[in-house]
């Protein structure tokens, strides 16, 4: 059997069989006898003091087991606080159930536990809450002012985080040059929207003093670490399982009050308690994304060289600083990543994350980078237009060149060598850029509004322990563990701390293990999504799964093979250095004797006396465990090019073509890589054109259903072409660059640039996304009026 036959091949996924036949097991599919259901009475006020709560009628309702308010769970958990090393950071303790005050519509106030969900919801309706409304704090810009009402009593202001990055002399750079572009960019609030809403089920086995939390989470390791402390349960008696998870995209990377609550309630009623979010609760109370105002300015010289950039960001971080990421997770990364893959000497980025009466801001696919890329790429196109330069040329002029790596960005980040220029050129070639510009000119001459949009960017993936996955966050997200064990048949079970919410990592990791061990993939089993799998794990986020998982697997395979050599040495009576491992067997150098894995394992475990007992006592089980820490992160980059047509009469934007060229390093499975990109791009198209969580001035949520919150369907998404040029691999184990967020990061900017390009004859630049039909109508209408005024 040749080695290396799986990594890089389009292996069909092993997850599919269960998912295609209904044999999958999502949290809501788990059956534990006697499970009770929780329903919440959530706040319908954005900001109000809770005067009184009457639960009498709810308690009398059929099937009700108990009704709980904050007072009833007082003392059941220690405070959960997202701490940070950031200066001027104001943390907010998590409210498991709202106490004294509610701070957003949808915040849970009362929990009703009943025999089933229908009965729990019936009873929750009967709860009476008397509120004293307080002044809503809904506009982040206004909330940042010193005279704004405060959301958290005793705070210095509503500004929870503040940060600044500076390089060079931006004042000089912006003052001197002949060409400047500036705009106020607005990216509206959105939600990750996994198709499976959040679900959690806690089972407390009183006789064993053991708690199991099944939760639809991307980060069972983080949840466990937090809850053992909060609930004061020994880690050995607390297990968190994330079985099949129906998408996440960042929305399932935080610890939620509901997860803490089901554990508290399970312990109280000594049984199993489940909460299954409905879609409106998901839209009301899952962590949200973006929602930034960016005042940005760029100066360029006449040749199109960028001289300086400033960005002043106001991020609406919602009511609480989310655990563990903090309120800095999204907005701070906007200014970190804004300089992008470009040579920018003078930069000043400042950000304030401001608390408002909305659900907490959390990580969402791309984190900060979709907005940073949107702003930077828009500025470049605006400058190019002003100078009469071509958009592609302007990028080629400014992008970091191959000889400049490693490159330190203006915000202090380090880009290791990646195919910035190569991907930019490759994408242009793939879409036949020059010819496309001619087609566009013809279309414009015919009165058709065709636009081409480029977005090029770089990101950091597979981050090790030298960097925090969120600025200032004290928990380590830079390590993952692989544990391998060989059974008596020679099969290998590989357990991982890194998890999966649908991306296909189970297959990808099996490919890596099978190749490294030189085995058939069918003989490898992957276990993940269970804190019992390894001593410590973290989870799936920040494009880390493939890098960290494969790295840990490679180290563990190496160690296991060393162990197998030792065992074979005893069994074959040959010195260790004369035994080689490969193709599923151990062979002596002379080729005289060999043992397949199954022969070796069977003899080692089951043949009495085959291995001297001193050796066996010292070697132990044929299992190993290794941790991988890539130390820093690995740069991943791409160029996206979109072609759109704006249908003026219908107020419609059609995405006609889409090309991506990326540097993703070694692909483990090209099918999975492309799938990740496709899905990410579709979400980016959603963010660019459709998806918006709307709140009115009183903080009422106006988009709590999928009728109001529009997600792209199959007919809104074009066919996409993916290119992965052969480029130098990065230095991490496996040579892998993360790819999970790439699609979303590039798509928002590519689409916005394409729409602006289409509308350029009317003098319209898109500065606000999503460009919904309504916004498009207004822009077209305004330009019509302007024209008629001339």
């Amino acid at each position: 059997m040749p080695e290396g036959r799986y990594v890089g091949a389009p292996i069909k996924r092993r997850e599919d069989a269960r998912l295609l036949t209904g044999e999958s097991r999502f949290v809501d599919d788990i059956r534990i006898a006697g499970t009770k259901s929780v329903a919440f009475r959530r706040s319908d006020h954005a900001h109000a003091r809770i005067v009184s709560i009457n639960t009498d009628a709810a308690k009398q309702s059929p099937g009700v087991v108990g009704v709980f308010t904050a007072a009833d769970i007082e003392g059941d958990a220690r405070p959960i606080i997202a701490s940070s090393r950031m200066a001027n950071y104001q943390p907010t303790p998590m409210q498991i159930l709202a106490k004294d005050k509610v701070r957003f519509v949808g915040e849970a106030v009362v929990a009703v536990v009943a025999e089933n969900r229908y009965l729990a919801e019936d009873a929750a309706e009967l709860v009476e809450i008397d509120y004293e409304p307080l002044a809503p704090v809904t506009d982040a810009e206004a909330a940042a002012r010193p005279d704004s009402p405060l959301l958290h009593d005793g705070f210095a202001s509503n500004v929870l985080v503040e940060r600044e990055f500076k390089r060079g002399d931006v004042v000089e750079a912006l003052w001197r040059p002949p060409v400047k572009v500036k705009a106020r960019f607005r990216v509206h609030r959105k939600t990750p929207l996994a198709l499976e809403s959040r679900v959690c089920l806690a089972e407390f086995q009183a006789a064993k003093s053991h708690m199991t939390l099944y939760t639809s989470s991307q980060v069972p390791g983080i949840i466990k670490d937090a809850l053992v402390k909060a609930l004061d349960i020994p880690g050995s008696h607390f297990r968190v399982v994330a079985p099949d998870v129906g998408g996440g995209f960042g929305g399932k990377t935080s610890l939620y009050p509901e997860e803490a609550l089901v554990c508290i309630l399970a312990r109280k009623i000594r049984g199993a308690v489940k909460w299954c979010s409905d879609r409106s609760e998901d839209l009301l109370a899952t962590s949200q994304a973006f929602d930034e105002i960016v005042d940005a300015e760029m100066s360029v010289d006449e040749a199109g060289r960028i001289l300086g950039v400033t960005a002043e960001v106001i991020g609406d971080v919602g009511a609480y600083s989310i655990y563990p990421w903090t309120a800095g997770i999204e907005p701070v990364q906007v200014i970190s990543f804004l300089p992008g893959p470009y040579r920018i000497e003078h930069y000043h980025g400042r950000v304030r994350g401001v608390a408002t009466c909305k659900p907490p801001m959390g990580p969402y696919r791309g984190v900060g980078r979709p907005v940073a890329t949107f702003v930077m790429e828009r500025l470049i196109d605006m400058a190019a237009r002003k100078l009469g330069l071509d958009a592609l040329q302007m990028r080629l002029t400014n992008i970091v060149q191959p000889h400049e790596f490693p490159y330190k960005t203006a915000s202090g980040m380090r880009w290791d060598k990646a195919g910035f220029v190569e991907c930019l050129k490759d994408a242009a070639e793939a879409i036949e850029y020059a010819a496309l510009r001619e087609t566009q000119a013809k279309a414009h001459a015919e009165g058709r509004m065709l636009g081409i949009g480029i977005a090029t960017f770089a990101e950091l993936t597979g981050i090790g322990s030298r960097l925090s996955a969120s600025p200032g966050m004290p928990i380590n997200t830079g390590t993952e563990t692989a544990h391998l064990s060989m059974d008596a048949t020679g099969g290998v079970t590989a357990r991982f701390g890194v998890t999966c919410y649908g991306q296909g990592l189970e297959t990808a990791l099996a490919q890596v293990v099978a190749d490294e061990m030189g085995m058939l993939i069918e003989d490898v089993r992957i276990i993940q999504g269970d804190t019992d799998a390894v001593g410590h794990g973290v989870g799936a986020f920040a494009s880390r799964g493939a890098v960290m998982g494969a790295g840990a697997a490679m180290l563990a395979c190496e160690a296991l093979k060393e162990k197998l050599v030792k065992a074979a040495s005893a069994l074959l009576n040959a010195p260790e250095d004369e035994i080689s491992v490969g193709q599923g067997a151990l062979t002596t150098r002379d080729g005289e004797s060999a043992l397949t894995y199954s022969e070796l394992a069977e003899r080692y475990y089951s043949h009495m006396g085959a291995v001297p007992l001193e050796i066996k006592n010292a070697l132990g089980e044929l299992s190993v465990s290794r941790m991988y820490d890539p130390e820093w992160g690995t740069t991943s980059c791409a160029t996206h090019i979109a072609v759109v047509e704006v249908e003026r009469e219908a107020c419609k934007i059609k995405v006609l073509q889409y090309v991506v060229s990326d540097d993703c390093g070694q692909m483990i499975n090209p099918l999975i890589v492309d799938g990740q990109l496709h899905g990410g791009i579709a979400q980016g198209i959603g963010a660019a054109l459709f998806e918006e969580l709307a709140y009115d001035d009183d903080g009422q949520h106006l988009s709590a259903s999928l009728v109001d919150y529009v997600v792209p369907s199959a007919s809104d998404v074009p066919r996409m072409a993916m290119r992965h040029p052969e480029l130098e691999k990065p230095e991490n184990l496996g040579g892998i660059r993360g790819i999970g967020e790439n699609g979303t990061i590039g798509a928002v900017a590519a689409i916005a640039n394409a729409v602006s390009d289409a509308l350029a004859p009317l003098g319209i630049e898109v500065t606000e996304v999503p460009t919904t039909p309504e916004r498009l109508f207004r822009m077209l209408d305004a330009s019509k009026k302007e024209m008629s005024n001339i």
Partner: protein
């Protein structure tokens, strides 16, 4: 307990007779009463399509259907398509084309696809996209699902 009505349904070829509350959704009846958890619920308000199944040969949203409305009906859920090792043509195509990631939308997608293959020409990519437009998928960007549908030989029976 509230007033209940007795219903008879055939699910994946098996007959069931149960007493149900009139307000019980068909999706909950399948998932909770019959323990057929392959049918997924993504929105409970008829938009996402995750709960789609085949009822009397038509694709139907089980979150918008009451269990009592299914009295006398023939239902096929995802558990009634092929099994692992003996996939139906639609399942096989989804597997070959990597048309699923988290798989949460997949049961509904399969029902929609089987129904559409019987009723619509689905010759062009645009037609396929139109046919899928009522089923949301958040993971795949639809491309591989479209590919899967285009590769299914429409002359074959949709489900085994």
């Amino acid at each position: 307990m509230a007033f209940e009505k007795r219903i008879r349904v055939t699910v994946n070829g098996r007959a069931f007779e149960r007493s149900v509350e009139p307000r019980l959704l068909l999706s909950d009846f399948l998932r909770e009463t019959l323990d057929l958890t392959g049918t997924h619920v993504g929105c409970e308000h008829g938009v996402c399509g995750a709960c789609t199944l085949l009822m009397n040969g038509d694709s139907v949203r089980s979150c918008l259907t009451l269990a009592v409305q299914a009295d006398g009906a023939e239902i096929i859920t995802v558990e009634g398509h092929g099994k692992a090792g003996e996939f139906s043509p639609a399942q096989e195509a989804f597997h070959a084309c990597h048309a699923l990631q988290c798989g949460f939308c997949t049961p509904g997608m399969l029902a929609t696809v089987v129904d559409a293959l019987r009723k619509l020409p689905l010759d062009s990519e645009a037609e396929v996209r139109e046919a899928l437009a009522g089923n949301l998928c958040r993971c795949t960007g639809y491309q591989h699902i479209v590919d899967a549908v285009l590769t299914i030989n429409t002359k074959e029976e949709g489900i085994s």
